[in-house]
Symmetry: C3
Subunit: 347 residues, 3 copies
């Protein structure tokens, strides 16, 4: 980004109060503003920072009336927060649009196909039968296995790995180092104590608008598909085992693990470092708090769960308070024992 | 896979009831069967699905007698489950056998050596002194550091990284993004509060038939070797620290971490998200349940452990029940206090 | 390493007792010594091993007087432990110094720049505007995004990925598969239940002497920077979310996760599998024990914390003891109830 204040004001439909020729090359929080950056002030709580911010320009809402002199240039818009969000999106669009074309050396099998607007970074690999949609970006060192399909406008970052037969929807983002379609962890015990791998022949299907975090791993199904539905957002370092299904618009934070064949409902929120055992169903709109362990079905939609094993949040919190005060409970018991002994000296 | 029903029946020693010319190109569960797929029905519980499955063919056991008309083609074999397992293994053999030869560009040092039947994918790297056995598959973008040795029939998937001097046995599988031989986490505190890295000069040794999951990390020993014995199976995103030893045929689920110098016995089963502190020994055939934290030696073989800190399972479960009912315990105590006060109004 | 005993003695300022012409090619613990290796004996506890070690040479301190005949060659130095440490460091210096030059094929944008002594491994990628200092080593398959800066003497191992605009100080080590600068996990809920990605425009800054473990992930800031200060050491598979700040010389063990915008003080020690929620501050010199969950500010410096939610260590331990003996507490309560009933038969 290297625009004038005036260009940004025009983009956002705003009015400039101050120097409209200043050049802007980054964004900042108002309390950390640097020269050359643009910031915003939407919450009156942050008004104090406006008067001495170093940011070259600040977006403010029409309703805002300054109570003191200020040094920065203002861009006045109907809603400062919305305008800033729009600015960020435009900025990111420009930043990511720039990658196009095929860098050399990269590897494309003879049978791989792709649509217009493609980016194939250096050292990326397209296996047999790969089909990529329009405006797909395959960053350097990404691996796209045989027969993988990727929908329009999806981005596969550097070093992400898609095993054969994976299916990725439109408008997905797969971050660096993520692994999609690794073997499910299935081994049959043998008479001599060793294990024999059960062939894992299924695949992984990601719906549209799915986001997968860095170094997250999603195993293929033993048969059929591990399914991540439309709009699901997975953070970094998450483990999704074979044959799991995650419902539409569910959001899961980092380092959570979901064991084989479990089904998470739609619009759930799962915090970080949660563990979910295999073969359970979690109802829609469930919230699971950090570090919890879910070991049973959660059948009622809309609840919040906490602890390992997870209990309804209010019950878990009550137990936590009691557990934290076990010494007091112990003291009360000692008092009673003492008192009873006094009452019954023969005991 | 693109075989006729007859070809599959011949492979499995079965008899066709129905259209033996149908083409099969995938496998499915009977309740999810699609046209072109083959399924199996071994458990009478699933018989209901046989009568309206869309699978083109279904393997059934000789003992099975249909109770209704069906649309699909049957292949009758002595044991449907065993036959299906054999089919899966044959399928996987064909699928993975197909990769052979050296793709360009890839990097092989002058001193690297390999046996017959090799696959070296594009953008893979073989350092100085690397020795690979027969039928080894090094997928694209894998890194094989200086002096690494890999035994016959082992598969190193895309993007896996083996630091210098790692040793991999025969018939091992290392999944995408796994890192073998990274520096142990050893730092000596200095007088000024900073830390100085302790050189990590050891290596990692994997026995035969070891499987390492996607994005799992195994650190090298400070001196000597981090040892993963024959038949060990590690799931995804596991951390194995320096100088750990994991005994033969032990199986460990995703996101578990084992700290430095600990020794896990043979034929243990460790569930997901378990933590094991450093310098402890875990006896053979120990089971450790999910999210447990092992902070002491486990000396008796064959036990099951739960909780953080981990206790014998039955003890941990009893405590969990009591902990979950702390409010009831509190209520009983209140009742006693109240009653004693009534009995002794002067209190 | 392939030196004579005499060469090593000269390097360490020691005196040889025995065969000074022997060749040394590895290091070992004295109890595991092999022919061709050098070991050390600093602790009298290990003296017993000296008399039958297979190591070709052993470093001993001047103060040591053998009590029995021995087979190995001794190198006598003022302090055996310090001399061994020096030897290890020299060894590692030689081992890593060997990598220099630019391997082909590798990718360097026209605008990328680097200092003398560079190593650019095969299949490594340098984006637009990249600036690398002197003696930087970029191992094969590493990705250095647009405008990334890396200071002198830093090492980026195979397959590590640095998103655009990351800043790495001098003398840093980033291990294989680590991801620096992936998008922060920020999504704005929409009226229809879906989520819209909030653009993540900040970066990651690593100070000097920082070490990042294998497959660890550090997200970029939403705006501004995620900051890892000088001397911080992160183990493997750690998650650091957007806008986190980790203070100087803090050490964090594997699989720990730190949520968005939290600040960890200087000289803290965080054990493995710890979770820290978002927007909290942890005071300097705090110790957090394994598997703990920090859900609030820790305001007093120098404390030790345990449990989930984390409590001061002594309090947490006391509660753990009580919790482990809940059955005894329950038994005492039953006794009281029984006794009171006997005293008041009408109840």
């Amino acid at each position: 980004m290297d625009f004038s204040v005036q260009q940004i004001a025009t983009l956002l439909g705003g009015k400039v109060l101050g120097n409209s020729a200043l050049k802007i090359n980054s964004v900042s929080k108002i309390q950390e503003g640097l020269a050359g950056s643009i910031s915003f002030m939407a919450n009156p709580k942050y008004e104090q920072y406006l008067y001495d911010t170093q940011a070259s320009a600040v977006l403010v809402s029409e309703s805002f009336v300054p109570s003191k002199p200020y040094q920065t240039t203002l861009i006045v818009v109907p809603d400062a927060y919305l305008a800033f969000t729009k600015l960020l999106e435009e900025y990111q669009k420009i930043a990511t649009k720039s990658k196009q074309g095929i860098e050399a050396p990269s590897f494309q099998s003879d049978s791989a196909k792709w649509g217009e607007g493609i980016y194939l970074g250096a050292f990326s690999y397209l296996g047999e039968g790969v089909v990529l949609g329009r405006n797909v970006k395959i960053y350097p060192q990404a691996y796209i296995g045989d027969n993988v399909r990727v929908g329009d406008d999806s981005v596969i970052f550097f070093g992400a790995k898609l095993y054969a037969n994976s299916v990725v929807g439109n408008n997905c983002v797969i971050h660096a180092g993520a692994v999609i379609g690794s073997d499910g962890f299935g081994f049959a015990p043998q008479a001599d104590g060793s294990y024999r791998a059960i062939p894992q022949l299924g695949n992984v299907i990601l719906g549209d608008d799915v986001s997968i975090g860095a170094n997250t791993t999603i195993d293929c199904a033993t048969m059929g598909s591990t399914i991540i539905e439309q709009g699901v957002k997975l953070d970094n370092l998450i483990q999704v085992a074979h044959n799991v299904k995650i419902g539409k618009n569910t959001v899961i934070a980092a380092q959570t693990g979901i064991s084989g064949s479990s089904e998470i409902g739609q619009n759930c929120i799962v915090a970080g470092q949660v563990g979910i055992v295999g073969h359970v169903k979690v109802a829609h709109k469930t919230t699971i708090l950090a570090q919890s362990g879910v070991s049973n079905h959660i059948e009622e939609a809309g609840g919040a769960w906490l602890g390992s094993p997870a209990l309804p949040r209010s019950e878990a919190l009550r137990n936590l308070v009691l557990a934290r005060n076990l010494n007091k409970l112990n003291k009360r018991l000692l008092d009673l024992e003492k008192q009873l002994k006094q009452d019954n000296p023969t005991l």
